[in-house]
C-alpha cells in the first residue's frame, strides 16, 4: 500500500506540472473576477460555479475518453436531452428515483453503444456517425416530447442535483467520484493504457495485439453513459425536462476537453485537465454573466475557445515534431 500511495503522490505532482499553466489561468481569472465584481466571491456564486463546472465535467469526462482515441462524439448534447426526457417520463410515471436513474443511464449507454458500432462495424468516420446520431436523437426527442415540458420530480431524486452534503452541492461529490473512477480507469487499468495507445497510433496498437475495435466501442459507450448520468443531474437541478435541454451543452463540453489540454489527434490528455478546462470555461461564462454581458454572446465565446484550443494543440504538436 505504501507503494500505491507513493504513486498517487507522484502522479499528482506530475499532473500539477503538466497542468501548471492552466491552473495559473484559473487563479488569474479568479483574481480578475474577484476584483471586477462584488458578487463573484460570494458563497452562493462560488458554489454555483462549482456546481456548473461539475455538471460540465460529467459530460465532458466521457467525451475526453473518446477524444483520447482521436475520435469525437458530437451526440453528447442530444444524448443528454433524450436521456433526460426518457428518465423524466419514467420518474413521473412510476415515482421511483431508482427507475428514473436506471432509465437515464441505460438510454445514454444505448446511444453510446450505437455510436461505437457505427464507428467500428460500419467504419463510418466518428464525426459523421455521431453527427448523424445527433440529429436522429434531436428528432426523436422533439417528437417524443411534442413540445411539452415534464416537471415536478420526487424530492429524493432532486437531491442529486440540488441537494447539499456537508455544505457542498451534491454534483461536486459526483464530480470527484467520477474523476477518481476515470483516473483509475485511465492510469491503473490495462484498458486505459490501451485507449491511449489507440489514440496515439491505432496501427501500431493493432499490430501490437491491442483489440482496437473493442476499445473504441468501450469509449463511445462510456461517453454515452456519462451523458446519461449528466442528464440525471441536470434533471434534478432544473426539476423539469424539455426536448432541447441538451443542445447548448455540446460546444461547452468540447471546449472543456480541448482547453484541458487533450488533443483532437489522440493520445494526449487527462481527466484532470478536462476538469480544469470545465472550470475555466464556467468561470469565463460566469464572469460574463456577472459583468452583465449579453448572454447571447456566450456561444460565440465558447466557439472561439474551441478554435483557440485546437490551434494551440496544433501549434504544440508542430513544435514537438520539429524537436524530434
Amino acid at each position: 500500500m505504501r507503494v500505491a500511495r507513493g504513486n498517487l503522490l507522484e502522479s499528482t505532482r506530475e499532473a500539477f506540472a503538466r497542468l501548471g499553466g492552466r491552473l495559473a489561468a484559473v487563479i488569474l481569472i479568479f483574481v480578475v473576477l474577484g476584483l471586477a465584481s462584488d458578487v463573484f466571491l460570494t458563497q452562493n456564486n462560488l458554489l454555483n460555479v462549482l456546481r456548473q463546472a461539475a455538471l460540465l465535467f460529467l459530460i465532458a469526462s466521457g467525451l475526453t475518453l473518446v477524444i483520447l482515441t482521436a475520435g469525437l462524439d458530437l451526440s453528447v448534447g442530444a444524448n443528454l436531452g433524450m436521456s433526460a426526457c426518457l428518465a423524466a417520463s419514467v420518474l413521473k410515471a412510476t415515482g421511483s428515483p431508482f427507475l428514473g436513474v436506471l432509465t437515464g443511464v441505460a438510454s445514454g449507454l444505448a446511444t453510446g453503444l450505437a455510436n461505437g458500432l457505427l464507428v467500428t462495424a460500419l467504419r463510418i468516420p466518428p464525426f459523421i456517425a455521431t453527427y448523424g446520431m445527433l440529429w436522429v436523437l434531436h428528432g426523436l426527442s422533439y417528437y417524443y416530447m411534442a413540445g411539452d415540458t415534464i416537471y415536478g420530480f420526487p424530492p429524493g431524486f432532486r437531491e442529486i442535483g440540488s441537494g447539499y452534503l456537508f455544505g457542498l452541492p451534491v454534483p461536486i461529490y459526483l464530480m470527484f467520484v467520477f474523476l477518481a473512477i476515470g483516473w483509475l480507469f485511465l492510469e491503473r487499468t490495462t484498458w486505459g493504457q490501451e485507449v491511449y495507445a489507440v489514440g496515439a497510433n491505432p496501427v501500431a496498437a493493432r499490430l501490437s495485439g491491442v483489440p482496437v475495435r473493442r476499445r473504441l466501442v468501450l469509449v463511445y459507450t462510456v461517453s454515452g453513459g456519462m451523458a446519461g448520468l449528466a442528464a440525471l443531474v441536470y434533471l434534478a437541478r432544473l426539476n423539469s425536462a424539455e426536448a432541447d435541454i441538451g443542445e447548448p451543452l455540446l460546444l461547452p463540453a468540447i471546449a472543456a476537453v480541448l482547453i484541458g489540454g487533450a488533443s483532437l489527434f489522440g493520445g494526449v490528455g487527462t481527466l484532470g485537465g478536462t476538469l480544469i478546462g470545465a472550470l475555466i470555461l464556467t468561470l469565463v461564462l460566469n464572469g460574463m454573466n456577472l459583468l452583465e454581458v449579453n448572454a447571447n454572446w456566450q456561444p460565440l465565446v465558447t466557439g472561439a475557445m474551441v478554435l483557440i484550443g485546437v490551434l494551440l494543440d496544433m501549434w504544440t504538436r508542430r513544435r514537438a515534431e520539429e524537436k524530434s
Binding site: E187, A197, N201, A204, A205, G209, E321, S324
Partner: protein, 504 residues
C-alpha cells in the same frame, strides 16, 4: 563496338560525378550517367544501389551534393520538378500524378488548361482536341472523356506517358514500368517506347527484369553501393555477368554468426498462402533455433507475407500454422501464440511516438503481465527499466517520449516490446534499416542470443550481405511467389539475385 564508338554526338543529358549524402548514408558517390537521344539507357543494381536516388536527382526531387548536370552540353541546375520540366525531363509515375475522377483530357493538361473566352473558364473543345492529338501520337485512341479511375493500370500508364509528351519531354524517366503489366500490355509499352526512340527521345529505364534489359536496352549502367560499376552495351555482356557486377558489396563482418546446428520444433508452417495484397501461393517453414531469411526485390511481396502470417492482413487462401496450431485471426491471436512482428516502418507501425518508452515497451505485454486488468504502474516501470538495461537502450529515463530516441534505440524499443510479451518466434522486416553500424551489430547480437535460446526468426532484408552472413538459409521471393530456397551451401549474393530477378 565500345560505348564511345556507338554514341553519335553529345548526350542529350549528362550527369557527371554526382554525389548525394544522407545522414549516415552515402547514397551516391561520383556517378556518371549519359543519356543519349533515341536510346533506352537501362539502370540496374540491387536494392539500395542508388538507382532511385539518381533519378530523383534527375527530375529535381533531390539536389545533388556534388557533380554537374549538363543539358545538351551546357551546365544546368535542376532544383525542382519545375526545373526538370523546363529542361524537358519527365518522369512516369505509377500512382502519383493522376486525379481519379477527372477525365483523361483534364489529367493530361492539369494546370495548363487552354483558356476559354470568359476568364477562368476552360475551352473544353480545345482541351479534348489537344488530348486526342497527343494520344494519337502514342497510337492510342481512348475516349478522352473517360474518367481516369475507369482505366486499367496499363492505360493509366499510357496517360502518364502522354502527359509527359504533351509537356514536350525529350527525356523520359521510367521506374519499373512493367511491374504491374500483363504480357500483352508489356508488348504494347515496348512498341511505344521504340516509337519514342525513333523520335529521338532519351529514356532512362530502371528495371529488375533481365529479359527486358537485354530486349529493350541500348546501354546498361550497373550501380552498386552508390557507385558506378560499369556502363556497357548489351551486345558486350550477358545476364550472368550483370549479376556478378551487381553483387559483391563491402562486407561488414562485425555481425557474422556462428551456427548452432540443430533446429528444433517447427515454429511456422505456411502452405499455399495467397492474399489480395499480391501473394500468389507461398510455402514456408521456420524452425526454432534458426534464422531464416526472406529475400527478394522490393515489391516481391516479402512484407505482405510477413503481414499475412502475423494476421495483419487476411489471407484469401492457404493455411498458417504457428507452433503447430492453425491460426486464422488477427495480430492478437498471433501474439497469444508467441509470435512477434517487427515491422518495416517502425515509426508508423511499430511505435506510438507520442507515448513514453515505458508505455511502448509494455504495449504488447499488458495482458500477460497484468492478466486481471489492474495496471500496476510501479511494476510496469520496473519491467520497462529491466528491458532498457537488458537491451542497453540509450535514454535518460523510461518516461522519455519515444519520438526523441535515435533510430537504433527505437528499433530496440520495438524489439523490447515483444520480448516483454514473451514471444518465441520473431518476424523481422528490415530490422537494420536506417540504423548506424554500431547499433546494427548490437541488434544482430541480440537476435543471435535469442536464437541460441531457442527462438525462431524469419528475417526480411534487402541487404544481400546481411542475408548471406546472418541467415541459416533463405527463401527468395519474386512477384508474389517463392522463386527458390537456398540452403547453407548455396547461400550467396549472386544466387539470391539470380532467383530474385527475372531469369531462367
Amino acid at each position: 563496338m565500345t560505348c564511345a564508338e556507338q554514341s553519335s554526338g553529345a548526350p542529350l543529358l549528362a550527369l557527371h560525378g554526382i554525389g548525394k549524402q544522407f545522414p549516415g548514408v552515402r547514397a551516391l558517390d561520383a556517378v556518371d550517367l549519359d543519356l543519349y537521344g533515341g536510346e533506352v539507357h537501362m539502370l540496374v543494381g540491387e536494392n539500395g544501389a542508388g538507382k532511385s536516388s539518381l533519378i530523383k536527382i534527375l527530375y529535381g526531387a533531390y539536389r545533388a551534393d556534388s557533380g554537374r548536370i549538363l543539358h545538351q552540353g551546357a551546365p544546368v541546375e535542376v532544383r525542382s520538378p519545375a526545373d526538370a520540366r523546363r529542361l524537358g525531363i519527365a518522369v512516369i509515375f505509377q500512382e502519383f500524378s493522376l486525379v481519379p475522377f477527372l477525365d483523361i483530357a483534364q489529367n493530361l493538361f492539369l494546370g495548363r488548361e487552354p483558356r476559354g473566352r470568359i476568364p477562368g473558364t476552360i475551352d473544353r473543345a480545345r482541351l479534348h482536341a489537344d488530348a486526342r492529338r497527343v494520344l494519337r501520337l502514342l497510337g492510342v485512341d481512348y475516349d478522352t472523356r473517360r474518367l481516369v479511375h475507369t482505366l486499367g493500370v496499363a492505360q493509366q500508364q499510357m496517360v502518364e506517358i502522354a502527359k509527359a509528351l504533351s509537356q514536350n519531354a525529350r527525356t523520359l524517366v521510367m521506374d519499373e514500368p512493367t511491374a504491374a503489366l500483363s504480357e500483352n500490355e508489356c508488348e504494347h509499352l515496348f512498341k511505344v517506347i521504340r516509337q519514342l526512340k525513333a523520335e529521338g527521345v532519351a529514356i532512362a529505364y530502371i528495371s529488375h527484369r533481365l529479359r527486358e534489359v537485354f530486349e529493350l536496352g541500348d546501354r546498361i549502367t550497373v550501380l552498386r553501393d552508390g557507385r558506378l560499376v560499369k556502363t556497357l552495351l548489351p551486345a558486350d555482356t550477358n545476364p550472368d555477368e550483370l549479376v556478378e557486377l551487381m553483387v559483391g558489396r563491402r562486407i561488414d563482418a562485425s555481425y557474422a554468426r556462428e551456427y548452432c546446428g540443430r533446429p528444433g520444433e517447427v515454429a511456422l508452417e505456411v502452405k499455399d498462402l495467397a492474399t489480395d495484397t499480391g501473394i500468389k501461393g507461398v510455402d514456408l517453414v521456420v524452425r526454432a533455433g534458426e534464422i531464416v531469411g526472406l529475400s527478394g526485390l522490393v515489391g516481391a511481396g516479402r512484407s505482405e507475407v510477413a503481414r499475412a502470417i502475423f494476421g495483419a492482413d487476411m489471407p484469401t487462401r492457404g493455411e498458417v500454422r504457428l507452433f503447430g496450431a492453425r491460426v486464422a485471426g488477427g495480430p492478437g491471436e498471433a501474439r497469444r501464440h508467441g509470435v512477434a512482428l517487427i515491422p518495416e516502418n517502425r515509426k508508423r507501425e511499430g511505435l506510438a511516438l507520442i507515448l513514453s518508452l515505458r508505455d511502448n515497451l509494455l504495449l504488447a505485454a499488458l495482458f500477460r503481465l497484468f492478466p486481471r486488468t489492474w495496471f500496476d504502474s510501479a511494476r510496469a516501470t520496473r519491467v520497462a527499466q529491466e528491458m532498457i538495461e537488458r537491451l542497453r537502450i540509450a535514454t535518460p529515463s523510461a518516461a522519455r517520449l519515444v519520438r526523441y530516441l535515435s533510430g537504433g534505440n527505437q528499433q530496440k524499443a520495438v524489439l523490447g516490446k515483444w520480448l516483454n510479451a514473451g514471444c518465441r518466434f520473431f518476424i523481422l522486416d528490415e530490422p537494420t534499416r536506417g540504423i548506424d553500424v554500431g547499433a546494427k551489430a548490437e541488434i544482430f547480437a541480440l537476435i543471435d542470443g535469442l536464437v541460441k535460446q531457442g527462438a525462431a526468426v524469419l528475417m526480411i532484408s534487402s541487404e544481400l550481405s546481411e542475408i548471406v552472413h546472418v541467415c541459416d538459409r533463405a527463401y527468395v521471393m519474386r512477384e508474389g511467389r517463392i522463386a527458390g530456397e537456398l540452403g547453407r551451401d548455396s547461400l550467396s549474393e549472386a544466387n539470391i539475385l539470380r532467383l530474385a530477378m527475372h531469369e531462367a
